[in-house]
Symmetry: C2
Subunit: 361 residues, 2 copies
């Protein structure tokens, strides 16, 4: 089973989800006079052969992980694209996790004021979230994704076969975003809600069984594609996708970006649910313990205490300081997306700093 | 006399040209919760008072000139915007020459994935060209504007009063782009061609008489606005605005960016005319000597020899190497915009490298 999900933007593009889909990259690049691949060393070593159909193209390696997302690294990448002779009709292929598509997407949007990009996400996180929707970005010091663009890809190829080799930490990181999607989505007509699908299939998912992966990635992408198509530039509904993310970004920053994004999101979801309950917005109180149970079954932390270690103490004061740097703030105060019930959130909620502090204690 | 020129993009915006127009900046910024001004030290010192209506806002200074257009400088600027507390609804005002609007425009397009920008160009070059049309950019080593975006301003305020204090070199630089506009434009119905207006008014222009400045800036902006509205992202006709620029960018790069842009454009125009004549595209041969005469009357160099000095030898091999870096190249060869007659150019012309070399001898 494989799926083609159309992202109804102008121009529209397709997200290809399924097994063995990376063979498509060669077709999508066929007409291009020049193509370069941006990847990281691990992905290139493990899965480079899956892009054999691209032929002999320059492969540009960037360092792994969130720490690589700097403006200086974008500069290095742009110089490599120049050295590789790319011009305005060239195609940049990103092949890696979210940091590779964020960095590569930003470089593509800047190079000669914008060249085409094809994302081939290789992590669960990137397949269900980062590579779909056109957001690119790098961090500025502790400020996550403070510099970036909206630059839609020509297509996304999410091949679930590559998820088999994901390191455990990266795998769990992706599950955090999957659970977020499950809290946000309204299921397609007649379909089982993703939240129930996850509860029912958590063991198969943890075993990374291909049919479960295909179903889960497809459902997450369908949800994101629908939201993004309605609000490309995040002037409204798209902000709902940030559920749990105001907390998560602050946790990541307070950890010096040592914390994997999706793991931070998992705890961010729990904090958002608790915050929503305390400010009286949570209409479906059962959603909080249900989320905690699902996170636990998926091997994810479900409390701030569970994240804190001697190396990463995540002090409340540091998290609060990072919250004040959030780019969703208004008038200097952070704004939160808070869940109301499954499939419904409140956007742009300003929360009493004392309440926030108590959540972080 | 003042003029309001509408740039018919989505959304449309207005270029305000005339005397005393900087008073408008306060009105345009009035509704904004936060505003910052990006400028350079000289402009701030000479003309800061003209933006008094903006009130007490953070002023961020960037170094002067083309050398300041680096990705590292964008990073510094973004960090300053962050420190100034700007959010997604903030307005960035650029107040300076083309390098300030190029840098500030790029920072505005990247900060939180894009905030609004208002350009208040203070040089002739920026008023007639750089600040209109939404191009932003920085140089990557010798590659001019290789990293940038399209990010349209909410408005442009071109106050000709500030041109009185322009240093002679900056003033002459702007005249190069004015002559380019005169070669490109088709005059509005019933109006005198800009080329004739310049020939007739060159003395008043050199004395920087306000009525002449208003008329010249308005006509250049009208021409650029019409071209940009028809081709925002330079997929076709907008490339005509690059007349003389493939040569000019190479000259600038070969000079280590010591050569003012518009001065390089002046010589670039002459090289393009001569190139066009030699490849048989120039249908109006009188246009070449006429351009040389006008450039001379405006105090601009009109030959490569006139640019060469002991400090800036502009060796042919260096110019050729820089041409191969041009971002308008296709398949590794530079592409030229060549004049056919006044108001008409040929786009994307590949020229025999031997012919190019002979032009640069």
């Amino acid at each position: 089973m494989s799926a083609e999900i159309r992202v109804a933007l102008e121009p529209p593009y397709t997200v290809h989800v399924g097994r063995g889909r990376l063979a498509l990259a060669g077709e999508l690049a066929r007409e291009r006079p020049s193509v370069a691949v941006v990847t990281d060393g691990r992905v290139a070593a493990l899965h480079g052969a899956r892009l054999a159909a691209l032929g002999d193209r320059p492969w540009i390696q960037v360092p792994r992980g969130e720490q690589a997302k700097t403006l200086a690294q974008v500069g290095v990448l742009l110089e490599e694209l120049e050295a590789a002779g790319l011009d305005r009709r060239s195609l940049l292929v990103t092949f890696g996790g979210g940091s590779v598509s964020d960095l590569g997407g930003l470089a593509a949007s800047l190079y000669m004021r914008g060249i085409d990009v094809l994302h081939c996400p290789t992590t669960l996180l990137a397949q269900v979230d980062a590579a779909v929707g056109g957001k690119t970005g790098v961090n500025l010091g502790p400020a996550k994704n403070l510099a970036g663009t909206f630059h839609q890809p020509i297509a996304v190829v999410a091949d679930v076969d590559v998820l088999a080799t994901l390191a455990e930490a990266d795998w769990r990181s992706g599950l955090g975003e999957v659970v977020k999607s499950a809290l946000l989505e309204s299921p397609p007509s007649g379909a089982e809600p993703l939240l129930e699908l996850l509860e029912r299939s958590s063991e198969g998912l943890l075993r990374r069984e291909a049919p479960v992966l295909e179903a889960v990635v497809e459902r997450c992408v369908r949800h994101k594609a629908a939201v993004v198509a309605g609000d490309e530039r995040e002037s409204g509904a798209r902000a709902g996708l940030n559920l749990g993310h105001t907390f998560a970004h602050a946790l990541e920053a307070a950890s010096g970006f040592a914390l994997p994004h999706g793991v931070a999101v998992a705890v961010g979801l729990v904090l958002a649910l608790e915050c929503s309950r305390r400010v009286g917005l949570l209409e479906e109180p059962e959603l909080a313990p249900r989320t905690v149970r699902l996170l636990s079954r998926l091997g994810l932390p479900s409390s701030l205490a569970a994240l804190r270690t001697a190396e990463v103490p995540l002090e409340a004061a540091h998290i609060e300081a990072a919250l004040r740097h959030d780019k969703k703030r208004a008038e200097g105060e952070p704004c939160f997306v808070l869940p109301r019930r499954r499939g419904a959130v409140a956007l742009g909620v300003a929360v009493d700093p004392a309440l926030v502090r108590s959540l972080l204690a």
